[in-house]
Symmetry: C2
Subunit: 438 residues, 2 copies
């Protein structure tokens, strides 16, 4: 393959990415509890030759206020590793990426669980490393509440190092060597002896090395420390950028950090989110968008905007006025900045910002025909803003079907996307090199 192809992920979410998806007439009533629904979505993505599916996570309910319908589509969720194990045995080539937190897990337990997922799937697993910024999640695990951003990232750095070393501590074929005299070839096992600030791990993983070496590492960190961790350890970054300028700046920033870790620019794939609303005609696409936007109640949009801004409440401010000045926060700093910048740049009111962000949940949204959407994707792909995209369909399954049946063929016509998988592992399909064992 000489030409450069886009990487495509399908970011799955029970009802759909649009905040009001669950209220749509086509919505699946209890999508978050229906494994058959997720298997269907995965098969749609695999039939279209997507690189991977992506599952977000927080070990908590998603909405403090049960009287708001805002997070309905996500009010119930499957634990991602178990969900993806069930999907792994119903797919053959599709990468499966699960989100898991370094704040509420231990390196050995999580590295082992991902090794299982990688083995079950024949080398198709990926780990989206997060540090968990949710207050609701913190309360489920500790009386001490949410740890500061810097402390969470310090733990994440140590966690990632330990996990990578555990995976790379088992060479190919180390267990059950051919002569049958011992349970392992000791010369091919390299125990980790980690005694750090947050963890102590003295041992060896009880899994064969995966066909892809180890799981793909995915991150979405947009803070400085997050981007640095991604540059050091990640194979894929998933980013939220509204404008092509923001996306180009993020792309250049992350890629420029790779050299100091001895990594090439192609070793890390930047895959921003895109929320496509596809219509056969421009008017059909706009009508689909309107139908969804009209389902958003103002209180829901405003509450979601407040949560993105990491503030308790916006309801005391006039809906048609500007955002108030923001206090400093220890939460996901980059998203807050993105919203504040957009509000100032375009002079948007709280109501307008709420609608804008509620719909696509802060991600880049394109409403249009297959040609218009392919144009927008190609512009960013060719323009130094993306190596591919994490596709966030507004409604499942129809929004994903719209994309695979209408937009993917257009991308193929332009030579921008594969006709078939290059290999059987996620690493082969993404085109990121196999890591060496220790």
């Amino acid at each position: 393959m000489s030409e450069r192809h886009m990487k495509l992920g399908a970011f799955l979410m029970a009802g759909g990415h649009h905040i009001a998806a669950w209220r749509h007439p086509d919505a699946h009533a209890d999508a978050g509890s229906d494994i058959a629904h997720f298997i269907e979505l995965a098969r749609i993505a695999e039939a279209a030759k997507f690189d991977m599916i992506f599952i977000e996570d927080a070990a908590a309910i998603r909405e403090r206020n049960a009287d708001l319908a805002s997070q309905a589509a996500r009010s119930t969720a499957f634990e991602p590793l178990s969900l993806l194990a069930a999907i792994a045995v119903n797919t053959t080539h599709l990468g499966i990426v699960a989100t898991a937190s370094t704040t509420y897990n231990e390196p050995y337990g999580l590295a082992r669980a991902f090794a299982t997922l990688d083995s079950l799937s024949g080398g198709r697993a990926g780990w989206n490393l997060v540090t968990s910024a949710s207050e609701l999640e913190a309360k489920n695990f500790a009386a001490s509440g949410l740890r500061p951003h810097s402390e969470r990232y310090e733990r994440a750095e140590e966690f990632a190092d330990a996990a990578l070393k555990l995976w790379d501590g088992v060479e190919d074929g180390a267990y059950l060597p051919a002569d049958g005299a011992a349970f392992a070839d000791r010369t091919r096992l390299h125990p980790l002896h980690h005694h750090g600030k947050h963890f102590a791990v003295d041992g060896i993983l009880d899994s064969q090395r995966s066909p892809q070496g180890r799981p793909i590492m995915v991150q979405a960190g947009a803070s400085d420390v997050g981007k640095e961790l991604a540059a050091r350890t990640a194979d894929v970054v998933f980013a939220a950028s509204q404008t092509i300028g923001e996306a180009q700046a993020y792309y250049a920033d992350v890629k420029a950090r790779l050299a100091k870790y001895g990594r090439a620019k192609t070793d890390l794939k930047v895959m921003p989110g895109i929320s496509p609303i596809v219509g056969a005609t421009d008017e059909e696409a706009k009508a689909k968008h309107r139908a969804l936007q009209e389902l958003i109640p103002d209180p829901v949009g405003v509450a979601l905007l407040a949560s993105y801004l990491s503030i308790q409440d916006l309801s005391s401010y006039p809906l048609d006025g500007p955002l108030p000045e923001m206090p400093p926060t220890n939460l996901i700093q980059s998203r807050q900045q993105l919203i504040v910048d957009l509000g100032k740049r375009e002079g948007l009111s709280i109501r307008e910002l709420a609608r804008h962000f509620a719909g696509a949940r802060g991600h880049w949204q394109v409403v249009g025909t297959p040609v218009q959407i392919a144009d927008a994707m190609e512009e960013r792909f060719a323009g130094g803003a993306a190596d591919g995209f994490n596709v966030m369909a507004p409604l499942f399954p129809s929004g994903l079907q719209d994309f695979t049946t209408l937009v993917v063929p257009e991308l193929r016509r332009r030579g921008l996307f594969r006709d078939d998988y290059e290999g059987r592992t996620l690493r082969q399909n993404l085109g990121v090199g196999a890591p060496a064992s220790r």
Copy 2:
């Protein structure tokens, strides 16, 4: 159903329960890394209408000494929850029971993962609660090493209470109520506010209540504190007893503890392990057993015996002499006592005890024809020693196939085992009542 039926579990393990299974000519070379192998075993158990499959676990390699072949069949293992999620979507009625530790997990995370498994499977999940007595496992999680038995059980008690309350905190249909106005019916959600010695959990599970209410609780504790925890919280206990007398004493002991928790004797099913070696004739069964026993090297048997006794090494004692006096230990106290008692009662040497325990790994073994095995099972089932059995086939898949094709029909002829499943949930099939939500 008026007659009382046996409950049957299939205790799956990669190569087989016999310690030398992996060296047998019929062994699967890399069973521990082959998901198709496990799905095949589950389907065999489901076709025979077993209540459940059972997966043990320790988050570590199983053998300190890589030069010994002893634990070969278990040198690689899948993380049980992911393994069972993959099996859940390939079965329809079979219960799926995963072992997980209260020592190296957090209540919210584990309760949530089991809620996912219960949901994925349509109400067929069970949790075998363990406190993790392995030193190798302890080293993977903490610099402080293995915690004393009493401290582990104190944490387990608090963990089990929190998990049960999390599951019971969500009433049927609490999420996505029919009117679509809010993401949940707040009156049907009962947040846990737990602030204990080991854990703080302030929240609600993000899962619909399962069709069986909550996962089945399984335990294998044989210490006094273990039996008390089982009497208070378990639906099934899995026990190791050599003689019918030991099994009757254990059965009576555990059942007698139920009343003080307001529970009926039928609320807890006692399912001891049985390691059946089945032949069409007595001689064929004995030949199968000999073929396996001859594959056990003495050092392997003796090392395993030492590990069961929780002592570092037995190799300095004469192989044909008796066991030395044992030091007190904080490990699995009951298993040690069982071995010491058997050695004294039958005057067995270290070599003899090693062979005896290595083969069936400390469980009750019956070598014989289908009629002989059914006789032995019926004697214990009718004689106040068991409500059913956890079947530990010596070799997979052939040992499980021998049992399902030869012994199960004999049990059915006697009216001791079901012809078909009573229901779709594990709780319905076991005949233990559905718990009330809080």
